[in-house]
Symmetry: C2
Subunit: 282 residues, 2 copies
């Protein structure tokens, strides 16, 4: 392949894409009563990293002007568009927060809550599963609306807010300090969801295929074998030297790029010594 | 079990512990030239969340007084002790940054680097693996020293710094924006490492066992069966009603706590109606 073609291929390569089973998923990140605009900005950024785009903020404690401030945009970085397109929903004065949450969640087919509590609690409201235990259903609806709910920084989702969650997720942590920062908890949940709903193609090296083919690896082993044959190595050891190379390279799952560089070294070395009259000990 | 015993059991219960294979691992998080104290504080917090405690900062761009400031301690929250015990290493004036990095990393058996680049790059230095592809070796050394390296916020690890990494990790992301915030990248890597080196016991509900036993589930199904038998349900449907309950409860992996509550409901209902003289349609 010529250089131009390679660079074009690399340019057009899309490493990740949504799995067919989940193309009808519409996932919305919902923050309930967030207190800190920095966290909102950080969440917009990590959403962009993991290809999520719908952000809804319900009844924020933080001031609206702070949520959209230049400083918060700085936290969002390239996720600035997500931040600026975030919907802020505020209840009318006569509506309670909980009633408003219920109303705002009506259009969702699945509401996933998050909690840091539940490790030592004998509380039926806090019985949760780990992100890796979550198997998302394949839905035949045209649009399957999923909400991921995060409570406010200082106390998480309240028991009343939890009433509107269908499933509760908890991130496994050490025993001592289970409460993650809001945006970090969000990042880890989105990372796990990203892995669940996306397929990842390997795309490094000269073509969108990461690993060296069996054929290429065999080619390399042939050269190494020829080199070993030429060198002053005891016969009974020759097989083991080759095996050591095979072991290491196979265990490392060598890429095309790495293989071609290593193959080059062995080919050049072999060509240099192949016609030399070396002492053969055997 | 009486209430006091239960609460004591919950109090003493340790949900997670290091796997035997990895008790000799000593893992150090190393930040090279960090620019922003907020990130350092956030990293101390997420380290505490995932039971890591050694933080080393090499040649920081951020001022030392800012790294240990009250504001940074605020980011660290309960990880404040990790922040305040962090080692800051600065090179002597005649030593270059790269020489100093090399020297500082000498005592480590394994140096794991991190990168956001490498997705479209034809660069041998950036050939990386995903965290989930990393299988940590079981070492027989008394102490197996592992370093996890993070580069500075604005550009990550440089090619020269990468020279000292044995293995390179990259977090899978969407195609558009692969660069995570430093502390979020650190959080996700530590989360994955935490999962790899720890065993997680289920500990919710009344005893350190999450799921209801087969025996308990069978007890519940027996009561439901008796209830169905008593009700005005067509004979050919009775089996299916029971099967529907079994399907749903088994698929949900019901906990002891949930089972005991549901069992209570069915038992009470059955006791109320068992002696009633109901019309039997069959």
């Amino acid at each position: 392949m010529d250089k131009k073609k390679i660079s074009q291929e690399l340019e057009n390569f899309q490493e990740t894409s949504v799995l067919n089973e989940y193309v009808n998923y519409s996932i919305t990140i919902i923050l309930l009563r967030p207190e800190n605009s920095g966290n909102v900005g950080s969440i917009a950024r990590i959403m962009k990293n993991f290809d999520f785009s719908n952000l809804v903020i319900i009844n924020p404690i933080e001031k609206e002007k702070n949520i959209f401030s230049y400083e918060t945009q700085g936290y969002a970085m390239h996720g600035k568009d997500i931040l600026l397109n975030a919907k802020i929903l505020n209840p009318l004065p006569q509506t309670s927060h909980v009633e408003f949450v219920e109303k705002s969640l009506k259009s969702f087919d699945l509401v996933i809550g998050t909690t840091a509590k539940g490790k030592k609690y004998n509380n039926i409201n806090r019985i949760s599963i780990f992100p890796r235990e979550l198997d998302l259903p394949i839905s035949h609806k045209k649009k399957y609306n999923v909400a991921i709910l995060f409570g406010k920084e200082s106390r998480g989702l309240t028991n009343k807010e939890l009433d509107y969650c269908d499933i509760l997720l908890r991130i496994p942590t050490g025993n001592e300090y289970p409460t993650l920062n809001l945006s970090h908890a969000c990042g880890i949940i989105l990372y796990e969801l990203f892995k669940k709903i996306h397929t990842i193609k390997h795309g490094r090296g000269q073509s969108p295929v990461l690993l060296a083919d069996k054929k290429e690896r065999i080619l390399l082993y042939k050269i190494i074998k020829k080199l070993i044959k030429k060198l002053k190595i005891r016969n009974y050891k020759k097989g083991n030297v080759l095996k050591a190379f095979k072991n290491v390279l196979e265990r490392a799952f060598i890429t095309k790029k790495e293989l071609s560089l290593i193959l080059g070294l062995f080919s050049k070395t072999y060509n240099l010594i192949k016609d030399l009259d070396l002492f053969d000990e055997s």
